[in-house]
């Protein structure tokens, strides 16, 4: 194509490379970063569930009372909720056509994810620091 192309995008828009959503590949990239981090974290999470299955309260407290276990669990929770919130955003943007509802539901889901993340992380911290 010639420099006088038929594109409706401005030269500045092309240079910024941010596309119509104005944030470029930021969302896409964060979803991949969190996805890759979640591979080992999920394997560890499932392994600890197996270790804790059939055991009592004391075993649970003892497990998360260990700094390494508490650290990995908090990483798992933080990354998992971040990933969930990013993924839900895409689903909501794809299927909720009304702009008002789309924004409202997106905000609600994001707030809920961050609230649950804070609650679960503080719970693990309470166990870790109290043990």
């Amino acid at each position: 194509m010639s420099s006088k192309s038929h594109s409706l995008r401005s030269a500045l828009g092309k240079a910024r490379c941010l596309g119509s959503a104005k944030d470029g590949t930021h969302h896409w990239w964060l979803q991949r970063v969190t996805a890759i981090a979640l591979i080992p974290l999920t394997i560890w999470f499932v392994a600890s569930l197996i270790a804790l299955a059939g055991h009592d309260y004391a075993a649970f407290m003892n497990w998360f009372g260990q700094p390494i276990n508490a650290t990995v669990m908090i990483l798992f929770l933080a990354v998992a909720f971040h990933h969930a919130q990013l993924g839900m955003q895409v689903v909501i943007e794809d299927y909720v056509s009304s702009h008002g509802w789309r924004t409202a539901i997106n905000l609600l889901v994001k707030f809920a994810c961050y609230a649950l993340a804070a609650l679960s992380i503080i719970s693990i911290l309470t166990i870790a620091l109290g043990a």
Binding site: R32, A35, I36, L38, I39, T42, V46, L49, I50, A51, A53, G54, Y57, F60, M61, F64, M73, A80, F81, A84, G87, M88, V91, V109, C113, L116, L119, S120, I122, S123, I124, T126, I127
Partner: protein
């Protein structure tokens, strides 16, 4: 401008979705399910932080038949999303886009997710 012979987009009600398409929508459905499932996870760890009584209440629900059913669904959704997610990462690198490759990956993801679900439950209930 002639309107005939244009490619039509497949209509969901009459178009038999190929397995890869079903895997794609299942990836989203499991993602939504896992997000909702974090409510149970948060309840579990928060109950533990509040003490033995609330922890045993949460454990009691998770050990009931409805709790076990939810956990079973949660585990399969988790492994499906994990394996299919890895396949998506391969796609991000531009790999395995050929039809026979996507077909093979579909089967591999399903078999791996089902197998890991069974293995994990045998280990959890046996150990």
């Amino acid at each position: 401008m002639p309107t005939h012979n244009r490619p039509l987009s497949p209509h969901l009600q009459v178009y038999r979705l190929p397995l890869t398409a079903l895997m794609s929508i299942t990836h989203r459905i499991t993602g939504i399910g896992l997000t909702i499932g974090t409510l149970l996870l948060t309840w579990w760890v928060t109950a533990a932080a509040y003490g033995v009584a609330s922890f045993e209440q949460a454990q009691g629900f998770l050990g009931s038949w409805i709790g076990l059913l939810l956990l079973f669904g949660f585990s399969f959704a988790l492994f499906f999303h994990l394996f299919n997610g890895v396949r998506h990462l391969f796609w991000d690198f531009g790999r395995y886009f050929e039809l026979h490759e996507t077909r093979r990956a579909d089967i591999a993801v399903l078999v791996a997710a089902a197998a890991l679900t069974v293995v994990v439950w045998v280990m959890a209930l046996g150990g």
